[in-house]
Symmetry: C3
Subunit: 103 residues, 3 copies
């Protein structure tokens, strides 16, 4: 085993839940903001956010990124999506093995 193979780094796990029609646009934007990758799962959901209500198919996008990239993504989503789309975003702390790849 390489000496540093088990080095872990604190990173942010950003989860975005959004309408499927937003997939291409959201993925382009998060990559432009610094995301080095994403994992996308098909989901169903239901929710209410203020006057927005939705039920049906959803995309669930997960991104592991540095705190700076996470902040940029959150700010972008809050600014460009929250007024008009039923987008949910939350962030968790994770430890990533080989974290230097996500800078």
């Amino acid at each position: 085993m390489e000496p540093d193979a088990m080095r872990t780094a604190p990173m942010k796990l950003i989860t975005i839940v959004a309408e499927p029609v937003l997939e291409e646009r959201l993925l382009q934007e998060v990559k432009r903001l610094g995301a080095r990758g994403y994992t996308l799962t098909e989901a169903r959901g239901e929710g209410t956010q203020g006057v927005l209500q939705w039920m049906g198919r959803n995309l669930r996008i997960e991104i592991v990124a540095s705190a700076a990239v996470a902040d940029a993504i959150l700010e972008h989503l809050a600014h460009d999506y929250f007024r008009d789309y039923a987008v949910i975003v939350y962030v968790a702390d994770v430890q990533v093995v080989r974290g230097e790849k996500y800078e």
Copy 2:
């Protein structure tokens, strides 16, 4: 950007993994206990919990909620499901953008 658009709030992310047959019942119950929404993904799984063993299709239900709602959901699941069903429940801390929508 609105002054408070990036306000984040600490919330709980509750993940429930359960048999597909429980979907409708579980979703009704978590909404009754205060969940404002959920995200549901189809999964497969395998596990052992005491005398319970399972392998096959699973539902994975994610709920973002206040700590009080999370406690109510955990208590309900522990009381009504753990003896008879292979239900797994875990809770993580997340930061939610625009968290006031989940109260």
Copy 3:
């Protein structure tokens, strides 16, 4: 409600994202290393890790385990997979209801 039904325990949630061809091998290995169960979802993804790039179908494997089992799984993946496969691994802290079942 049983007196101890709501006992929670701090555990680790390990998420592995990998190529679908690795499914059987990875699941056998994590069980050998002490995982008592897993949840598997089909995903799509894209990413870059050093010289590795990938895009397409992914498996997303989630495992709730003790810190010791989590460490063993991370060490194994770092040692046996990171040089040759586009495997992503991250770990989060979770509170598990009825945590004694995951030891």
